[in-house]
Amino acid sequence: MSADTAVAAAPAQVEIFAPEKRRGRIRTFIRRHPAIALGGALLFLMVLAAVFAPLLSSIDPQALAPARRVRHPSAEYWFGTDMLGRDVYTRVIYGTRVSLIVGFAVAILASLLGLIIGLISGFIRVLDGVIMRVMDGLMSIPPILLAIALMAATRGSVQNVIIAITIAEIPRVSRLVRSVVLSLREQPYVEAAIAAGTTTPRIIVRHILPNTLAPLTVQATYICASAMITEAILSFIGAGTPPIIPSWGNIMAEGRALWQVAPYIVFFPALFLSLTVLSVNLLGDGLRDALDPRLAKRI
């Protein structure tokens, strides 16, 4: 991360966020950034499904109907019904909400908290050693296990799932931000700003934050993807959202006992989960290539 990254990133940013009006420009954009276009479009569809879930299905996702238990997919029940007669299609559509809320919330919270911790660690040298040792320790606990242990000590709820996954993701963000801060502090223009008597808050706002934005955005998309997988895993093994909430992990956990006779109960939420994570990963890869050409060449 250095000054020339920022220079390289600037035009790309303008290109990405400029309003696309004419069709030719959209086509150019798709050709130049196929990953962002495909990932963004897929994710947009998922967001639409989450927002308009009640319009996409008139059935209550919790409605029990013992008379129509374990029906295979048909014109009436697109994704079939589960062992309690609930409509799998409806539950999967509503599950989009849980997954996206957890993914976005964790991405935003972990980025913000990681940014603050990274800035403190990069600027207040006295605290750096202690903070980084704590982060090393947290990073030594495999993220899913850390989330499992945190969930085991609290009650299962969407809010607690978000907190648990956020804690597991913070160390990586704060390490990233800290490394950006440390390398920027060595830059001549930052040294010049310090020599000229610029206050630390002003240096952070003018010089550090703009340079952190690109890598942090890319990191946030990857966190979003891994948070959605972790949420599904937690719910699948019974340490996530309470069973009453139709999250993809919960639907799969309920379908587990029947998966040899009714594999579609597991299959459809699995498909939606994979597609959503894929869309976010594509978006992240595309953003990385567009925002940081040098990093793109390396990875």
Partner: protein, 313 residues
């Protein structure tokens, strides 16, 4: 050199202390009354008190932590609330399947992923390269249990080539043992392969652009010796680092893979412990896995000098 190794080994002690502190304090710092949470909704006040005492939650925080550390040093992970057995005993009973699964997955993944990455870098831009990159994105996106069910459905239910679920100890013959672990290994390995293939490709691209590779080509060396002897040797350090870091993914994935394939290992133990809210067991498994993870990465760190003689501490 010896001084470096000693210093590096000592440096893991504060990390492990932090791990122990985090795992220990989670229970105390969690909002609400952990004893009541663990006891469940139907518990009587006496049950809650019994669990509070069993977890040592009725004593001061620092006293508890000191005792906890002392027990750790003596390889005592406490007693299960549910079975009343020592946690170390329960872990020992369940450790073989998990270790087998993870060792097999590491061997399988590295054998597949490294050549994949090398060939992708060598043929950069070709359809092989693209295929490897698409595989890598898919490997990161399709969760391990999805791949697990898919494999089990195709190869066990439809084609009937391999057993659907279960585990056979290695003592009862190698083939029955291996047969049960093939599908779990592939499922668990997918993310890991994606990760290693990606870093191998990236590092190899960098190495292949260097002058000594051009020299090797100029003096008439064949492609294979250049790729696998000259180039890969220089790419070994970043690759082995990622192999080590990726073990965190494997540990998390093993918990799920064991649930999908009904393998009675540590992951299964963890899931059962979650359902029974048996916190000492969860705590013990998390601590064990984290310590192993730290030690494996320490070993890889020390191996660097073997891969790259230029590294002298």
């Amino acid at each position: 050199m010896l001084a470096y190794i000693a210093r590096r080994i000592l440096s893991t002690i504060p990390v492990m202390l932090v791990v122990a502190f985090v795992v220990f304090s989670m229970l105390i710092l969690s909002p609400g009354d952990p004893a009541a949470v663990i006891a469940g909704d139907q518990a009587t006040p006496e049950d809650v008190e019994r669990i509070r005492a069993a977890l040592g939650l009725d004593r001061p925080f620092l006293v508890q932590f000191a005792e906890f550390l002392w027990r750790l040093v003596n390889f005592d992970l406490g007693t299960s609330i549910f079975t009343n057995l020592p946690v170390t005993h329960m872990i020992a009973q369940r450790i073989e399947p998990t270790v087998s699964l993870m060792v097999l997955t590491i061997i399988f993944s590295v054998t597949i992923a490294v050549p994949m990455g090398v060939i992708a870098a060598w043929k950069a831009g070709s359809w092989i390269d693209r295929a490897v990159m698409v595989f890598a994105v898919l490997g990161f996106s399709v969760p391990v249990f999805v791949i697990g069910y898919l494999l089990a459905y195709i190869f066990a239910l439809e084609l009937d080539w391999l057993p659907v679920q279960g585990y056979t100890p290695i003592a009862r013959g190698f083939w029955p043992f291996l047969e049960n672990l093939i599908l779990p290994t592939i499922a668990l390995g997918s993310v890991y392969i994606a990760l290693i293939a990606r870093i191998t490709r990236a590092t190899m691209l960098e190495v292949l652009a260097q002058d000594y590779i051009r020299t090797a080509k100029a003096k008439g060396l064949g492609t294979r010796p250049i790729l696998f002897l000259h180039a890969l040797k220089n790419a070994a350090v970043p690759i082995s680092t990622v192999v080590g870091i990726g073990i965190a993914l494997l540990i998390g994935g093993a918990v799920v893979t064991e649930s999908v394939f009904a393998i009675p290992g540590l992951g299964r133990l963890t899931v059962d412990a979650i359902l029974r809210r048996d916190y000492p067991v969860i705590q013990g498994v998390v601590l064990l896995f984290s310590f192993v993870y730290v030690l494996v990465n320490l070993m890889i760190d020390l191996l660097y000098t073997v891969f790259d003689p230029r590294i002298r501490y």
